[in-house]
Subunit: 229 residues, 2 copies
């Protein structure tokens, strides 16, 4: 099943180059030269992943990323930022905006494709059925249910979204701001500390199955979901 990648980049030569490489790698591509076109393209057909240039005429890539995170339609789409050399220092900002990964120009298409595949793999639990499994935990997306072993786990809406995000993005640290962007959606303003509370609640719901250790605190950085202690 071919993945659809939306390339948002104002420089035509780079856009074409990337599009060519991706098609050769068996992906479908759509292109946009600016934020407006990008949003129209998304409205028309939701891509599986967005490659987003940092510098865009008009609305910057970062702004567009933030905006996409606020829309229900586009919140779940993974985003990879393309940044020029020297813009690396802004990584932090991008990560806070809920960007999934970065590729620094100049990049080889091989590297780019590897990253794309990595992000797609991460954010899809692999089989596209909506089922994700990690350790003894299993989450059934379509059914909106969580299982520990065979037993169903009672869980509230926000905790469910949080857990779902963690299950689809395991083994990686996320700051409170990132979690807010990915799980809450950025359109709402809530205190960062609120994340702590929901982490606590998630741990508590996992306690009966002794799985609370999967939610790990990384002091000074954020939280991580992992199968290994």
């Amino acid at each position: 099943m071919h993945k659809r990648i939306l390339i948002v980049e104002d420089e035509a030569s780079i856009r074409d180059m990337v599009a060519f490489a991706l098609r050769k790698a068996g992906m479908d591509t759509a292109q946009a030269a600016d934020a407006r076109t990008a949003q129209m393209s998304i409205a028309e057909q939701v891509p599986d992943l967005i490659l987003l240039d940092w510098m865009l005429p008009g609305t910057s890539g970062l702004d567009l990323a933030r905006r996409l995170r606020k829309e229900e339609l586009s919140r779940e789409i993974p985003i990879i930022m393309l940044t020029a050399r020297g813009e690396e220092m802004d990584r932090v900002n991008g990560l806070e905006a809920g960007v999934d990964d970065y590729v620094v120009k100049p990049f080889s298409t091989r590297e780019l494709i590897a990253r794309i595949k990595a992000v797609l793999r991460r954010s899809q639990g692999d089989d596209g059925s909506g089922m994700v499994e990690l350790g003894r935990l299993r989450i059934d997306g379509p059914a909106h249910r969580v299982f520990a072993g065979d037993e169903p786990v009672p869980i509230g809406p926000t905790e469910y979204r949080l857990l779902y995000f963690f299950m689809t993005h395991p083994e990686r640290v996320y700051s409170r701001a990132q979690l807010l962007d990915h799980v809450w959606g950025g359109s709402v303003y809530v205190e960062e500390r609120t994340v702590d509370v929901h982490i606590r609640r998630l741990r508590k719901t996992l306690e009966p199955w002794k799985l609370e250790d999967m939610v790990q605190t990384v002091r000074g950085a954020g939280y991580r979901f992992s199968a290994s202690p």
Copy 2:
């Protein structure tokens, strides 16, 4: 360890200028004015990277690139193409031929060197995934985690940053002042002896895996991180 760069360019003045800049940047250079000479040079000593002019008398740079990709000996050598303005549209062809990057003339030597370093870095196992490995130690940047073999190593924030710096800059001595600058970030003032304490703490966290000898004292100079005793 100096990298060897082969410059394939018919215009002698450009060739010399580039060679001069690269040597100043601590790289070794070899030169060739045409495809035939280039292949002989490679046969004699395999370079770490090839700078290849797009336009060459006789066999074009693109053809040479294709040819090099077919040879077992030269298949893995990264290639950077030098193209004149207006030739950008041909990027696609270059990609197809397995070119790693492009630099458009006229270029500054600083840019060229940056590109070379970026490509070399990528070709050396730094795949941009944020994973660093040295001896039995492995550090996973995105996950913010350290492993000794397969076991996770519990580690605090500062020790983590210190270890991360060491892992990315191994086999080299750093004074306490340098470590403060790189790990603590020059804007804070702390006693130099504080470094000693953190070195001690780092060694202690590595002790359970008998890896404490990787952190080595260089009396009168500072500390060094190394895989060999």
